[in-house]
Symmetry: D2
Subunit: 332 residues, 4 copies
């Protein structure tokens, strides 16, 4: 211990001074984000970044986080930040934001965020949830305010369709796991009618991987994919469907980096949290971004309350990916 | 008293039932607004409206109102309502709203509203204030976010440039008076550097009055006013300036209805509150609406703390309008 | 209506002025209490009291009341008032208060109060509840902190053992009815294990009535009752038991004033609220006050959710008192 | 850094688990207090205590503390804790507590506490302040509710007469310094009429020191002090006055331990905070405890806003004690 004490660098003492400023903690969080960008080889900056990381990870202990349901009654300043942080499916103005918080129709949307008492008014991470009849297969209808809505008490599935980290300066200090568990618990208590808790997630690295992946006989497939508007040509859509689904299943379940960890970052996040890979959805996201990044494919990760811990254990300890039999079937 | 008791109509008993519903008071306020539109001669509806008025005026006693400063940290639901109720200078989206609440530059805007504990989340009336160097002469620069801003502690004048009643169903139950007095007191305490408390107000009835007013020799004036874009022709502007200022001073100070009350509703409001007519501003509002309703003229009503009571008394008791010598000079 | 308007006395206008003072509403409530004591024949004061009553009854509409659970986390200033207003079973210091709010052992006490947004920090009426295994028969063990406590989730009965009106100035403006209904609903939602909702109530007028009531053959009974400590003499207790129970049942159910209304004020309150007279408890309250006022007897009024409306109707419309067969049996 | 990381003991990881329990942080704070008592030579427990200290000192950074004025409107649960933690002048029941919070007469008492967002409802340290006409010389009148009170706006002196640390488990993680500075600033802003900010403090170690201190010719003095009720014998009081004042001045200013640090712990606290030793008060505390610990003497430490930093520097860097000339005069 005395060794540790002696090693407490005076940098840390300096950094602590900022806590007494208003917004001092936010300042330090943003400072770490900047240092991360700048450090790049400079050992002094890298060390400073490391000290900050240690300090922040002591303050931002997951036990201190407050789960808050975000509604249209939240402060406009907080909602403005939320809209700015949305990383998955961009918000189109305040009416879109209002709808995503549950403000339209029978109130079948939910938004939950983690906040921290030392950085009030700043969301750390938030998730948007749609309450629907069954596991959602496409993002378009979920984001379209014109889609007929079910009443919350008639919904059977809670779809987590967007999860956004807000503070780059807290990278590596994880709370995503805790967020999903607590939101599932909260929804379960409010709406006992819900049977399915699942995401509708992008597969952000699929096309990048496919580009770098060369396999015999895939040239025609690539040629078709490179045509603009291929998704509106029924013949092409039909020809691409099976091979792409197979390749994608392979990408999600088999491709690894650093040994056991799956290559796709979103898959890694949900597998670490104890989800299983449940279903691939062909033409699930036909936005420009969806086509470009994942050939329009989306995936459901399923959270079954009684299997979360076992799934997490299998993946964390042995790198074993739990997947539904339909997904497994695509691998053969 | 027993007579009064016997007269308590069973309608009132019915109306009271609504209080236990959530939003019941808001329902009754809106009901009165609807009745006012519909009644039109029907004695039963008119009586119901009267009963409602009595009930509401008992509940909405000015002593119960809470003055709240509205900032960008207010609930989005409240701000959305506020933007919808703005009656004087329309808001253009959320960024405009944010600016009007004080959110840009050095924070030299303020917004205050009255709320009532029985109708939470619903503004009753609100006022928008700009902190500037001197009594403002034109609305354009006040609404333009590009105008260079002074720091609040350097401002000398607080300009009330928009006052909006939010609840048609509370018509005739007045709190505007109390609002301005309390906002002046609040600003005075926060910023002792403020010397001038004045409005920059529209003159909504001027052109309508002018149209009905026929006087010898005014035909050329009318002709000039009817040309589109007259305000961009320097010669016309010069020719119109003096006669219109004279006519407007006459309209504001001399034209009455029901005996003592001045004809212009905004003038009546501020004179009743104890303000004095301070200055006419030529080309103060060159928006389409400003030109159409008041030939581009605006007026400052000045609130001098030590004269408010005397001014109010003079107007309320004798119909005497207090005005600056420059305005009086226009009458000769 | 115009007649009514003309009759609005200038006194009322005067009274309304008080609303803008801090604590102005509390001042008016207390003023009415004072007027009630002083008026006594003076027609002017009586009229003023009447005006106040009308004004207060408009403001204190039951729809505006907020039901609040009062715990040890409530402001000390509020709790001090509560302890002062307790009218049924006096509190002995702050530790006793803490226990009654639920602060000891497994938390099997509850306290609920009505508050009003125009008079914050002032309880209007409150009820104290004990969660126990079965319908309580004696007050002593309920007030004794040493009594072994059941866990809330094992309790089967919620006993309302003290209901206190706090504002004499709101006499005749009733909310007791609404309070009990809402507390029953609240407890029902929190603890589905509760099957019985009943009071354990004093019978404050029994002995007074008995003193004025002369019937043949009652002299020995009176003689026994007048002996100090009769309740500790088993022979006397046995001799008195049956005749007193019979007389008390008669007093509660049959003695009326103003036609239909039962004589006992607490019985009238609960019968009006839709309760039924369930059980007489011999030696239910052996405190000095209990012996003096009701010969130690207490009574349970039972609230059955599905019979409240019918019971209320029977009593309010026809003066019919609903009682259990065991009580009815005592009348023969 | 990697060295530090490798040294992060798994104990710390374990300790962090407690944060997600409700009251988890309070649990850890109390655990450290217990370890401190138990450790006593056991190296494993001592190390655990050290780890806890590090963790807690990271969480309880002074920048995170919230200064709160504690009034009679605070939760009873918080006030009960406060009364329990009062270490200097014991509270005698809730009415005494209410008086100390400012609740009687013209409101010339204040109480301020530091709270921390991770341990809500738990005061860390609090100070009680009396607003009076001049620097107080005796504690009796300050604690006596019968003493005539000045109005806050007529007071010239703010006397800090009791400062209590509440959490033994946060020993060595200091916020007393920050507390006094912030309270002085707060009072200064509220009441510009205040000219003097000073404590009225006990001298807890004086008599213990005197007992161990043997000097020629002090035997008669000791003999007088050992008589019960000496403070009520005018002759003895007169004879003791001068020698004891001299000895006490010597004790406070000259006696040191660990080199520069003064021996008296309260003196050390205020000197570290930048106060100066201003005045000794003969018979300032004639309670049994006051006579026993400090022969009835009390001392004022004076906080002069423009000298706090220099005083602090002189003491911290060189061990130089700043004192008034009257105190210095006693040393000769």
């Amino acid at each position: 211990r005395e060794l540790r004490d002696a090693l407490e660098p005076s940098r840390v003492k300096l950094l602590r001074q900022f806590t007494s400023l208003s917004d001092g903690v936010k300042f330090l969080v943003d400072l770490r984000a900047d240092l991360h960008d700048l450090a790049n080889g400079d050992p002094i900056l890298r060390d400073l970044e490391g000290d900050l990381r240690e300090l922040l990870s002591s303050w931002f202990d997951v036990g201190f986080l407050e789960l808050r349901r975000i509604t249209w009654d939240a402060p406009a300043a907080l909602l403005e930040k939320l809209a700015g942080y949305e990383a998955v499916h961009e918000m189109r103005g305040w009416q879109d934001l209002k709808a995503r918080l549950g403000g339209f129709g029978p109130g079948n949307r939910r938004c939950f965020a983690f906040l921290h008492p030392l950085m009030p008014g700043e969301p750390l991470i938030f998730v948007e949830v749609a309450l629907v009849r069954e596991m959602a297969a496409a993002i378009g209808p979920l984001l379209d305010r014109a889609t007929p809505a079910v009443k919350p008490e008639d919904a059977e599935a809670a779809i987590f369709y967007s999860i956004s980290n807000c503070q780059r300066g807290l990278a590596g200090i994880s709370f995503g796991n805790a967020l999903i568990k607590r939101v599932v618990a909260e929804l379960n208590a409010e709406l006992p009618n819900l049977r399915i808790f699942a995401t509708l997630s992008p597969i952000p690295g699929f096309m990048r991987w496919l580009d770098g992946h060369t396999a015999e006989g895939e040239a025609p497939l690539r040629a078709m994919l490179s045509r603009r508007g291929w998704n509106r040509d029924p013949a092409v859509v039909e020809a691409l469907r099976e091979p792409l689904m197979r390749l994608c299943a392979h990408y999600l379940l088999e491709e690894r980096r650093n040994g056991d960890r799956v290559l796709d970052p979103v898959a890694h996040f949900h597998l670490s949290n104890g989800a299983r890979v449940e279903r691939l959805n062909w033409l699930g996201d036909i936005s420009a971004k969806g086509l470009r990044e994942s050939a329009g494919l989306m995936v459901n990760y399923l959270y079954k309350l009684d299997q979360i811990d076992a799934n997490h254990e299998a993946y964390a300890a042995e790198g074993r990916v739990i997947a539904s039999s339909s997904i497994r079937g695509l691998l053969r």
